[in-house]
């Protein structure tokens, strides 16, 4: 981590020194947020904490010139957590220099990006490591050092990535909630690559939009962002093992009237047996319900993983059913409710997320998650007691 920060800082100074002074305009923005998480039950393990308070800050500096065709962006992130020392952490989300021309775009530095179309999980999205302590749904990502060249044609974009440094996944600590029965020993992570986290990964992606269709085809070769786990010899913890993998990914969306049809599929080899995983489904929106400006959407996705329950994921053979209410009001009020049901075994996950702007600069977010009927045999059985309600208040600047 220290190595990482120093490199980032050095890059910042070097790149910062190269900025054409006075040629563009610099700008600060960002947010500060406070979060309170109330757990409904006592933890499975006495070491785990109860209700929890946490603070986070994410400033962003942007300096653009040549009408935004060149820019420098710096986004550090810092979280302090009351109880879980693993959740108190610092990261460089972005530290990028960008140059865009008519035919190509070059990005050098640390960056976050997203691939894919589905809502329940993001199979295809493989470039950035998941910052799991940030959000149990895996939606938050670490910044990834990269060299990215995008070749742009009228009909498609072709992206090339060189990823020279690997970021380990973060996991809640021994004190933390929302973890496996055994804590994860991140200090003893193992790599298949002899270069460990310095293995040079690469990826390519082709994406295009033709009429109602948006599609992407991608290939990744390098260290898997998702680890598998081995039990530590003393039996007291799990050790993450990062294999070298190859992964093909395909994502498709058809936008037809009020329907969005979505599919993502991957083929991964190098991590035990090769396997296929698929997420597919739809979202249908009732526009302007009951004569109001509000939209009401229903969504459903099927999640399939060839590894079945050997996959250390909550989502092996599951179905998501959800609904989304968007009021389209001044405060941008939104409400999302979802349930993920395991087809083969008992176990479902209930999700509620809602947010609303307060005044011009504040935003309040309420989130609730409940884990029901998780089987005792499951390594995730401990989260059975981790149902929580969370309130977050953020000030944007």
């Amino acid at each position: 981590m220290i190595y990482h920060l120093l490199t980032a800082l050095l890059c910042a100074i070097l790149t910062g020194g190269m900025l054409p002074a006075g040629a563009g305009e610099g700008e600060w923005s960002g947010y500060v947020s406070s979060e309170y998480r109330a757990f409904l039950y006592k933890p499975a393990d006495r070491l785990q904490h109860g209700n929890n308070f946490s603070l986070a800050v994410q400033p962003e500096y942007y300096y653009g010139w040549d009408d935004g065709r060149e820019s420098f962006t710096f986004v550090p992130f810092l979280r302090w957590d009351q109880n879980d020392s693993e959740r108190s952490h610092v990261d460089i989300r972005e530290l990028t220099w960008l140059k865009a021309t008519d035919n190509w775009e070059l990005r050098v530095g640390i960056r976050k990006l997203f691939w894919g179309v589905t809502e329940s999980q993001h199979l295809v999205d493989i470039i950035n490591q998941t910052d799991l302590v940030e959000a149990p749904d895996g939606e938050e990502k670490f910044g990834q050092p990269m060299l990215n060249l995008a070749l742009i044609r009228d009909w498609a974009t072709f992206d090339l990535f060189i990823l020279p440094y690997f970021r380990e996944r973060s996991f809640p600590g021994v004190d933390g909630r929302l973890r496996f029965v055994l804590p994860i020993d991140t200090d003893n992570a193992r790599y298949e690559s002899s270069r460990q986290e310095r293995n040079i990964d690469y990826a390519v992606r082709w994406e295009s939009s033709i009429g109602a269709w948006d599609m992407g085809l991608s290939y990744f070769n390098g260290t898997s962002r998702e680890p598998r786990f081995e039990i530590r010899p003393d039996g007291q913890a799990l050790i993450p093992v990062y294999d070298l993998i190859e992964q093909w990914g395909l994502d498709l969306q058809a936008t037809v009237g009020d329907w969005l049809w979505k599919a993502e599929t991957i083929h991964r080899s190098g991590q035990l047996e090769p396997y296929i995983a698929l997420t597919t489904g739809f979202e249908y929106t009732f526009v302007g319900i009951m004569g109001s400006g509000a939209d009401f959407g229903i969504l459903s996705e099927v999640l399939y993983d060839e590894r079945g329950d050997n996959a250390l994921t909550l989502f092996a053979d599951d179905i998501l059913l959800g609904s989304r209410l968007t009021l389209n009001d001044e405060q941008s009020s939104e409400l999302l409710f979802g349930i993920i049901v395991d087809i083969d075994d008992p176990g479902h996950l209930l999700i509620l997320e809602s947010s609303r702007r307060l005044g011009n600069a504040w935003k309040i977010t309420f989130e609730a998650r409940a884990f029901l009927d998780i089987p005792d045999s499951d390594l995730l059985t401990s989260i059975h007691d981790d149902d929580y309600l969370q309130l977050e208040l953020a000030r944007y600047f």
């Binding site: 820019s71 865009a100 969306q253 936008t255 009237g257 009020d258 969005l260 001044e330 702007r357 011009n360």
Partner: protein, 275 residues
């Protein structure tokens, strides 16, 4: 969303070389004066308005939106707008939100089409995610304002049928009063009663009638300025919703036309680096 333009030439007419266009115009002009039916006269006015507003190529502008609820409480949005004129098709536009700060960097890309459905993408900077969205929400509020998406996107001639109603003097200005009837699906309106300035061929006032045919909103456009000796743009637009008693004021500044923007500035890649 850059401006309310009354119409746009059909693809065939745009492709005409200069001389033929002039000839056609000479033939059409008397029709404007002595149109046989109110429908033909309405359409001719719309086509003339479109002809006069063709050739600006691309545009950038800044926009301040002031939303007012029935108690007079205000909230403000800042948006930067870019638009690209597309020959023989609807325009492309990119809107980037600066304020409120929680949605800063959110960008909305729209390809309008005359007859087939529009294409729309939304960029969510917190997730770094480009989302293709359904374009059927035309009647939905734009950013919680009293403007609907359909009020903002480019207004192709083919999207409406027309009827000339009368001539009228509005606030001391000579206007044509015409009615427009949306022919495209998913419009929230049954008709738009439009007062069009005879000098500028630009609207001064529009009344929107909802699906129940009752008066929903009134738009007033004012403080027009001419750019490049041809193109008129309003500096202020005020939309009042008669049913909710809410209103939205738009203040446009920094209009630049023929800016040299190209299709590359309106693709999914540009969405990701929009500022």
């Amino acid at each position: 969303m850059r401006k309310t333009r009354i119409g746009k030439l059909s693809a065939v007419n745009i492709a005409l070389p200069g001389l033929r266009a002039v000839c056609l115009l000479l033939i059409l002009l008397p029709m404007v004066v002595q149109a046989e039916t109110p429908q033909e006269k309405g359409l001719a006015i719309a086509e003339e308005a479109d002809r006069r507003d063709t050739g600006w190529q691309s545009q950038t502008a800044s926009l301040k939106m002031v939303l007012r609820n029935r108690h007079g409480q205000e909230s403000v949005r800042h948006i930067r707008n870019k638009a690209l004129e597309v020959d023989g098709d609807g325009d492309k536009s990119l809107n980037i939100f600066d304020n409120p700060r929680d949605i800063k960097g959110t960008a909305f890309l729209s390809y309008t089409h005359a007859l087939k459905p529009d294409e729309q993408w939304l960029y969510l900077p917190a997730l770094k995610r480009v989302k293709r969205i359904s374009s059927n929400n035309k009647s939905g509020p734009f950013m919680g304002s009293e403007f609907a998406y359909e009020d903002f996107t480019s207004q192709e001639v083919e999207k409406y049928s027309y009827q000339y109603i009368r001539d009228e003097i509005l606030d001391g200005r000579d206007t044509f009063v015409i009615e427009r009837y949306p022919v495209y699906q998913h419009s929230g309106y049954t008709r738009l009663l439009t007062w069009l300035d005879k000098g500028m061929y630009q609207p001064l006032k529009v009344e929107f009638y909802d699906r129940k045919k009752s008066l929903l909103k009134t738009l007033t456009l004012s403080d027009y300025q001419q750019y490049l000796g041809q193109y008129w743009r309003p500096n202020q637009m005020r939309m009042v919703n008669h049913q909710t008693k809410k209103s939205t004021d738009l203040y446009w500044t920094d209009y630049h036309l023929k800016t040299g923007l190209s299709t590359r500035d309106f693709d999914r890649n540009s969405l990701k680096r929009a500022r």
